[in-house]
């Protein structure tokens, strides 16, 4: 179904693109979203970034997007259509678009591509990402402070490095407060399915967790937390309006300035493929206001955030021990970015078996 839909959307985008390209000589910047542009979560974060860039660059650019593009071979067609329609820079915003992006990029050497959260590059493909794990570390600390049960629930999408990194960081943060902290993990195998995410949240609460966090994109789990009088964290977006009594904080993606910078680079001809990976200090992600928390926990969270921003604290600081007990790095070292970007193991203390 999504196939047909995305194809249809791409055809429309193509038609619109052609007429516009004839009308004016603006630079065309295009986006590919895995969910709806207004999903209230991850994809909306990117769309806000697109609107920000459009506003900042005004007449110099025109922007368009294709939404609800399924990850995998389908994405290739959607990206290719955009490239054909005259897009000069294409942002593909989900991990599963990595290989399709590389493939299409090989066919269109004059078009610049930027792939979010992946690790493959090419002469015309750069990657960009946000150090979400920094925020997850803070969330882990808050969870360990606030949880009476000593166990949190974690709703996740797919076992890719980005997600595993988040789980590990959350756990490391929690362990820094309570070494015996536990986490229950549910894979829903979807980025966006509000009902399924809600079911997962219910299952976790039924099994005794009192705080949930998620790496899926809808506010449904937080709504369940609110309903049960328990707590959780927003994902990609400040979801406070869905759960005014339940949200502690949220990782808020702020892609706009990055998009503006990269499109500007294309405009003045200085664009080069980069592997950009910014974090809290660069403002590419922010923490939503700390709410529903006692003062001392807010103070702790703010201090951790300041330490991460100043570089005094790296969430993946040694010693880091894998689930099976092998030590990855000793005390005094920080895990390097290369290892982090390909992370495919759990840290010690997580009982779940990582799907391979």
């Amino acid at each position: 179904m999504k196939k047909v839909l995305s194809a249809a959307v791409a055809v429309i985008a193509l038609a619109a693109g052609m007429s516009a390209a004839e009308a004016a000589d603006k630079l065309k910047a295009c986006w590919v979203y895995v969910g709806p542009h207004n999903d209230g979560g991850y994809s909306e974060g990117h769309d806000k970034g697109r609107l920000y860039a459009q506003e900042k660059l005004g007449d110099k650019i025109e922007t368009t997007y294709v939404e609800n593009v399924a990850e995998g071979p389908d994405a290739e067609r959607a990206i290719e259509r955009l490239a054909r329609s005259g897009c000069k820079i294409i942002f593909t915003t989900s991990f599963g678009f990595m290989d399709p992006t590389i493939k299409v990029a090989a066919k269109f050497p004059d078009v610049k591509f930027e792939h979010a959260t992946g690790f493959k590059t090419a002469p015309n493909v750069g990657t960009y990402n946000s150090r979400f794990y920094e925020g997850r570390y803070i969330q882990g600390q808050i969870a360990a402070k606030q949880s009476k049960a000593g166990v949190a629930g974690y709703i996740v999408s797919f076992p890719i490095p980005e997600v595993v990194m988040g789980i590990d960081a959350f756990m490391l943060g929690a362990q820094s407060v309570n070494p015996d902290f536990k986490v229950k993990i549910i894979w829903v195998n979807s980025w966006f399915d509000p009902a399924k995410e809600a079911d997962a949240a219910k299952a976790l609460f039924d099994q005794g967790v009192d705080i949930i966090t998620q790496h899926t994109d809808s506010p449904a789990p937080l709504q369940i937390a609110q309903e049960r009088g328990l707590h959780g964290f927003g994902q990609a977006h400040d979801m406070i309006q869905f759960a005014p009594k339940a949200q502690y904080t949220a990782i808020v993606d702020t892609w706009g300035p990055y998009y503006e910078k990269r499109i500007n680079a294309v405009l003045d001809g200085t664009w080069k493929p980069e592997q950009s990976w910014d974090g809290l200090k660069d403002g590419i992600m922010q923490m939503a206001p700390y709410t529903n928390l006692p003062d001392d926990v807010v103070a702790m969270a703010k201090k951790t955030q300041a330490d991460i921003e100043s570089g005094a604290l790296h969430p993946f600081k040694g010693p880091i021990v894998k689930q099976d007990g092998t030590e990855v790095i000793p005390a005094g070292q920080n895990l390097d970015d290369g290892t982090l970007l390909g992370l495919n193991w759990y840290v010690k203390g997580i009982d779940d078996k990582l799907p391979q």
Binding site: M1, P36, N38, I186, W187, V188, P194, D206, S218
Partner: protein, 304 residues
């Protein structure tokens, strides 16, 4: 915990029951409407919007019924009056519904919804284990149960149901006998649309009180499959929906327990189990062939 799991299962099954029972009636009359997903999406957005504007979730449900009926009427006009291909028109209806609902719902994204309060009978609802499962559900779930029984009764115990099934089995014969095939089918399609609309509203008003584009997430297709695997019998479709909902929830619990079975397999389990269960209960070939509407998907053009 058992009570809570049962409640979650019922919640997961209810939208499927609505959509599938509605589709069952349409298919029994011989019309294959693949637009369930689109009608659900429209029901979801209309239900959410009306409930949000008026503050009354029941008006939301009514709006969802209207939205589903309007969508179904569109399908009925195209396939029954203008005799367009049902499969293609149904797929188009799904695309149209998903797109249009996204457009209508654009301004309702990111707003918390109005939820439907659950039943609360002092004394009864507080009973251990069964209390909330029997006496503490939301009104729409009771409606889904009533709908299943009502449709079953209508199809097999009333003259109207007999006519509807006759139209679905052999439109030519029904026409010869003097029944208005197009009219019967049109009404059946409208009924299917109304049910799909409520199924969609259940998602945006009860399940997760919010509106987001594409929030139906394929449930319309599951409902369609349930009708076929449930061999066009309301009770079996109902059982199928409960099994599907049940296994979907149990696999989440299995994961949270950390039993170490790959999550990809667990995610596929609801589909596998539902198919296996429904194949087993409907293994009687003769019964299956009698229950399959013989004229399903065939267009009818009266001679005169």
């Amino acid at each position: 915990m058992l009570e809570s799991i049962l409640l979650t299962v019922i919640t997961a099954a209810t939208p499927l029951i609505f959509a599938a029972i509605g589709e069952l009636v349409a298919e029994r009359s011989g019309v294959l409407n693949l637009g369930v997903e689109g009608m659900m999406a429209m029901g979801a957005v209309a239900g959410f919007a009306a409930a949000h504007v008026t503050g009354n979730p029941m008006i939301g449900v009514l709006a969802a019924i209207v939205a589903g009926v309007v969508m179904a009427a569109l399908f009925g006009i195209v396939t029954l009056v203008f005799v367009a291909n049902q499969v293609a028109s149904g797929l188009a209806l799904t695309l149209f519904g998903l797109g249009l609902s996204g457009l209508i719902g654009d301004s309702f994204v990111g707003i918390p919804g109005v939820s439907v309060p659950s039943l609360n009978i002092p004394g009864l609802t507080d009973l251990p284990i069964v209390g909330r499962v029997i006496f503490g559900l939301d009104p729409l779930t009771y409606l889904a149960i009533a709908l299943t029984i009502g449709v079953s009764w209508f199809l097999f115990r009333t003259r109207g149901g007999l006519v509807l099934r006759a139209v679905g089995d052999s439109h030519g014969s029904a026409h010869t006998l003097g029944y208005d095939v197009i009219r019967v089918r049109f009404l059946a399609v409208l009924f299917g649309g109304a049910c799909a609309g409520v199924g969609g509203a259940y998602l945006s008003l009860v399940y997760t009180p919010q509106w987001t584009e594409a929030m139906t997430a394929g449930r319309g297709w599951i409902a369609l499959a349930l009708v076929v695997f449930g061999t066009w019998l309301p009770l079996r479709v109902f059982i199928g929906a409960i099994v599907f909902g049940g296994v979907s929830i149990l696999q989440l619990h299995a994961q949270a327990f950390g039993i170490g079975i790959p999550s990809q397999f667990l995610s596929a389990l609801p589909y596998l189990t539902t198919i296996v269960v429904l194949v087993i209960i409907s293994r009687n070939r003769v019964l299956v062939s009698t229950n399959t509407p013989a004229a399903l998907g065939q267009s009818f053009v009266p001679d005169r």
